[in-house]
Structures are given as C-alpha cells and as structure tokens.
Amino acid sequence: MNRPVYTPISLDVNGRNYRIRVDHRWTLLRVLRDSLDLTGAKRGCDRGECGACTVIVDGKSVYACQILVMQVGKRKVCTIEGMGTVSNLHPIQRAFLENDGAQCGYCSPAFILATKALLDINVDPSEHQIKRALSGIICRCAAYSRIIESAKECIGTLDEKSKN
C-alpha cells in the first residue's frame, strides 16, 4: 500500500461510544492517546514488554500497544480514565495512594487496571495470584513491594458498584 487506508469505526471506551476514522496501522494505544486524548495509558516500549499501556478489553488486561484498533471491534475498553477521579478515587486507586504504591507513576495506571481485572474475577486472590496477575508490568522504580501491598489492601473492599 502506498497510501494509508482509513476506515470509520466506533469504539466503546469507558462506556462512551466514539466514532472515529482510523488508519489501519493504528494501535489501540495510538488511538487512545492521540485521537481520544486519553493519555493515562503510556507508551513505554511499544512492543508488549513493559506493560505501561495496559488497558482492559472485555474484562481482560491487554497491551494496548500490540493490538490494532481495527481488531477491537465491539468489545468494551476500560482505561484509567474510566475509574475514579482525583476527588473521587476508586477504592483500588485509594489503596495505591494510601500504601504509596508508586514512585514515578508511569506504570501506575497499568498496575491499577491489572489489579482491577484480577479482582473483577477473583474477589479473594492469594499473594501469589496477585503477583502473577501483575507480572506483565515492569516498574523500573521497582516499587513492587508497595504495589503488592496496595493490591492486597483492595481485597474485600470492592462492592458491586465499583466493579465492571
């Protein structure tokens, strides 16, 4: 192909329906950050090796950098912007705040979403299950101990409303 191929699509992000025209080369991450201005998902490696771009698609954590937006289809995308706000934190975010579960913060949205994806299907995970569920994200500040504490703290705090 010599020219970019564009197709209009609709994309469900955080319960909102976006109608956009996309270049077939665009990844979900590219669209979230550049077309929808949802910059909470970060580009750390663009190869599925760091996890900073983690978002939830139909309940499962995925790397937004390795999925073409054309592959998303009707599935529901949840990003960090779909969780709490500064004045009204989601219980998982509150747990990360109270347990200092971050340093530079570049990986924080990813860890929070991966925690959510786990707790949405397993309300009472073991420490090992937590670590495994979070093992797809690199924290170069290596604040892992605090992150594990934060995630553990969330167990049992999620009511039905804060799920999904």
């Binding site: 192909m1 080369r25 599925g48 499962k60 954590s61 790397y63 999925i67 054309m70 592959q71 569920a133």
Partner: protein, 326 residues
Amino acid sequence: MKPFKIVRAKSITDINKVFDAAPRSSYLLAGGIDLMDEIKEGLITPDFLVDIMNMKELKVVRDEQDGLRVGALSTLESLESNSLIATRYPALAQSVASVGTPQIRNVATIGGNLCQRPRCWYYRNKFFDCLKKGGKTCFAVDGQSKYHAVFGGQRCYIVHPSDPAIALISYRAQVDILSVDGIRRQPLTELYVGPGEDILRETRLRSGDTIKTIIVPPIVPGQRSVFLKATERRTQDFALVSVALVITVDHGFITDARLTLGGVAPTPYMVSHVEDEMRGSRIMDLDYTKMGKLAAQGASPLKHNSYKIGLVSSLVETAIRDLAYS
C-alpha cells in the same frame, strides 16, 4: 511503517482471495502479538493483514474420540484455565502458563504461538542484515550467542521459541491445515523446517495455509507428563532450555516415552535416543543422571552458550525424576 490494509476473513476462500492477489505481502493476523513486533521492527512490510479472528470454525475446543481438538484461535489464557487440559495434559497447561505475561496470554492464540518467528536478537534487530533476512552472514556464529542453538544449527543458529509446541510434540499432537486444496492433517513435528533445508522460514506452511485445529491424542492409562523451563527471570522470559517429557508407565515399566527440548535447536528437538533408552526400563531403576547426559550428547555450542549443555542434562534429569516420583 508502510501503510497496510486489514481484511476480515470468514472462510478459507476469503483468505485465498487475498493471498492469490498478493502472495508475498499478505499475512494472517490472529492475536497480532508477534506480527506487530515484526511489522514495527521493519522485518516485514505487509500490504494486507488477513484478520482471521472471526473464523468460527477455528475457535472450537472439543473433546472427541481421536483426542482433544483445540481450535487454532484459542487464546493461551483459555487453555491455561481449561480444567480438562490441566488434569489430562499437565505439561501443556504448564507450558502455556509459562508464556510471556497475562496480557500476552489474554490475546495470543495457540496457532499464532506455534507459528511465531524466532527471537534471535540479530534477526529481530533491523540493524543486522543476517542470513535469515536474505543477508550475507550469520552474526551469531562469531558474535553474541548466549541464547542460540547448541544442536542442529546449520548456517543459522536460531532456537525454536514456542513453549507450547514442545509440550504438544511430546503428546504427539497433530494439526489440521486449511488450504486451497482442502484440509490436510499432519504431525505437528512435520510443520517445522530447519535452516539446513530452508533458512528463510521455520514452518512448511505455504502462502495462505491456515492452521485450523490442533489435535492432542487421548491420554492412555499410566501416562505421566511434565514441562520444565529454565529462564533468567521468573516471568516474561523465553526459555534458555525447556523440556517436555511424556511417558507411559505400566507396572513400573516405561512402555512409551517422548522427550522434546526447546530453546536448544532451530526446531523442537526430539531426543529419540533417550526415548529408546527409557523404553522398557523400570522407572525407579533408571539412571536419571545418565539420561540427562545422554540427552546433551552431540551438542556443539557456540562461543557463549556452552552452559546450555549442562542445563539440558539437569532439566532432563529433573523431569524424569519428577515423573518417577509423581
């Protein structure tokens, strides 16, 4: 990145249409985990990606008489959480669980996993124009070869990257392949081709060929299996060496054995001389250390990978011991 077009396929006819028109620049797109990496690294420049994720017939997972049929589009996560696989085919479950990360397993398909391209760091880096990319040299021969092959390298020293393939081959899995000529069934081992025969690719699939189903034969009484994988980190790592061992034990005697190694050769490496040695032996009397040594026989390391020889021996020894006491 050059522009490309994504075409949705619902059937093999759809696929063939695209591949007929542009055989050299069309690629099947499943989860996309490996394909995206290749495109971003500039290793391939597709015009068309044929998205097969809507092909329902490739999604079925069913237990049948001739074995467990696993649709090629099943995600690794779905296999990891499949209780039937966990109980009957533990080595497969373990191999799948060892792949990459949760985010990868949630997206990657088993078909794509079996067809992923090698991880040789020279191959994956567009700075190095190596033999596999049509260039003139193999940089690994005199260069950095920590992760390269100790068996079967011929001009090219890649190692086979898929963990599930190692387990599946030890279970004697077969694959159904869809093509213009219909469906053909073949042992999974025969899917792979070494660099001696064709340095530019790793599978015998022809343009547009699509893996439909992986068939894992039914388990037999006395079957035991294990998958082990040595890595540097505890996750997010390809295997330095991986081992899948499936044996059948009858009244303490090994009646059948299948041992496959990953991370050591350009294709899954089947160690038939060790299998022969094991067959007919009493499992408790077997000299595990000797079996381990035997498995590493014939290895010819490069500059930086001689450690793999000892690692092969250790893992094989551990695998047999694990099964003896299981």
